[in-house]
Assembly symmetry: C2
Homo-oligomer: 225 residues x 2
């Protein structure tokens, strides 16, 4: 079996990606990041999901506090928006260079493992305003990765897999359900509480709830009230 590094936040999208990587025959090595994010319960979810879904190894990589800045997700002085998401501007939940930092560290780990496949659960559909969730960004990262590395230069092509990049939340949920994903384990909310219960008001909750509704699947999310 081929090894793959799977970025796993503990949310709905990355958990679906882990299931897809397994279904495609990869041995998954799960990678999460502790960057002082508000959302501590997301990391706890990632641990449980990695274990229950049979990751060969789950590495939680600590980034120094303040590594990722300039975002409502990492700066308690910036409010998490609860109004309807805007269609044409980059949200305040954008974290500068986040996916680039995550993918770079995944790339380093992959090369050490002898893996040439990396899965990331970005979607260009629901949150299309994040620049680092777009296909052209992923393609540019993959090209760079193959120039950056010994493995790439020696002809072992690195592939950045984005299996849900063109799926909306409903289709992502449908895909995951077919693969047996237990979404009650996942935490997506931007301001979940310590037990992983969702606020039901932030953009992330909005898209998640809509996804289950449109997929015709009972929403297993635990809400705060």
């Amino acid at each position: 079996m081929k090894k793959a590094v799977v970025l796993l936040s503990g949310g709905l999208d990355s958990t679906t990606c882990l299931a897809i990587a397994k279904a495609q025959g990869f041995e998954p090595y799960a990678l999460s990041f502790d960057y002082g994010q508000r959302l501590r319960s997301e990391l706890n979810a990632a641990k449980l999901i990695a274990k229950k879904m049979g990751a060969i190894e789950h590495r939680i990589f600590e980034l120094g506090v303040g590594a990722l800045q300039g975002s409502a997700l990492t700066d308690s002085n910036i409010a998490i928006p609860e109004d309807a998401p805007s269609a044409d501007s980059i949200p305040v939940t954008y974290v500068p260079a986040r996916n680039t930092i995550f993918l770079s560290i995944a790339l380093g780990w992959a090369e050490v493992l002898g893996a040439h496949d990396i899965f990331i659960g970005v979607s260009a559909v629901d949150f299309s305003n994040y620049p680092d969730c777009r296909p052209e960004y992923i393609a540019a990262f993959e090209k760079m990765a193959n120039l950056a590395t010994k493995a790439g230069v020696e002809g072992q092509h690195f592939t950045i897999h984005t299996p849900i990049i063109h799926l909306n939340k409903a289709d992502t949920v449908k895909t995951g359900i077919k693969l047996g994903v237990d979404y009650s384990l996942t935490v997506t909310c931007y301001q979940a509480d310590e037990d992983g219960r969702a606020c039901g008001r932030c953009h992330s909750c909005h898209f998640r709830e809509k996804g289950f509704r449109e997929a015709g699947v009972a929403d297993p999310t635990r809400y705060q009230s």
Copy 2:
């Protein structure tokens, strides 16, 4: 004045880059990494250099122990080579995805600072076998960075400056001397001691010594014997 993030290891090349960034009129924000490298004295050198050369801020970013693996520089089980460097293979001192991880974190910091310029002291001449020191790699990273970021998408072009990429060590030394660099502060050796004294035998010492000799500049390096 425009801000620039300057990657600063404490070695000869990155210190020269810092001097060049200043000479080009940038306000330098120095960025170093603590990744459990063997070479602790290099970080101490970086601190002193950042201070003496007037960096606006010097951030030492801690990467989790074991972040960078699979290299003689980070794994004490792999010997630092002391024979003549090979002309056509990637050396064991190659660290998987190192420059990609460093540049990604620099990119995140730059975006938060409102800087659009990043300096990195790679050279494709002396150590031409490191894949992530080549112009085509840097060009691919820059392209990716402009697709990855809010600033890039909004039209503020990020530039990855590699002012010594085509310089050999002698020309790098000549450039730095003209700009007043005090090379006695820098630590380049792969196995320097706690006081920053060089071994005089590793590839890095080899190129450094040759550089001063060919530049006709007295070698200020402190050696262990």
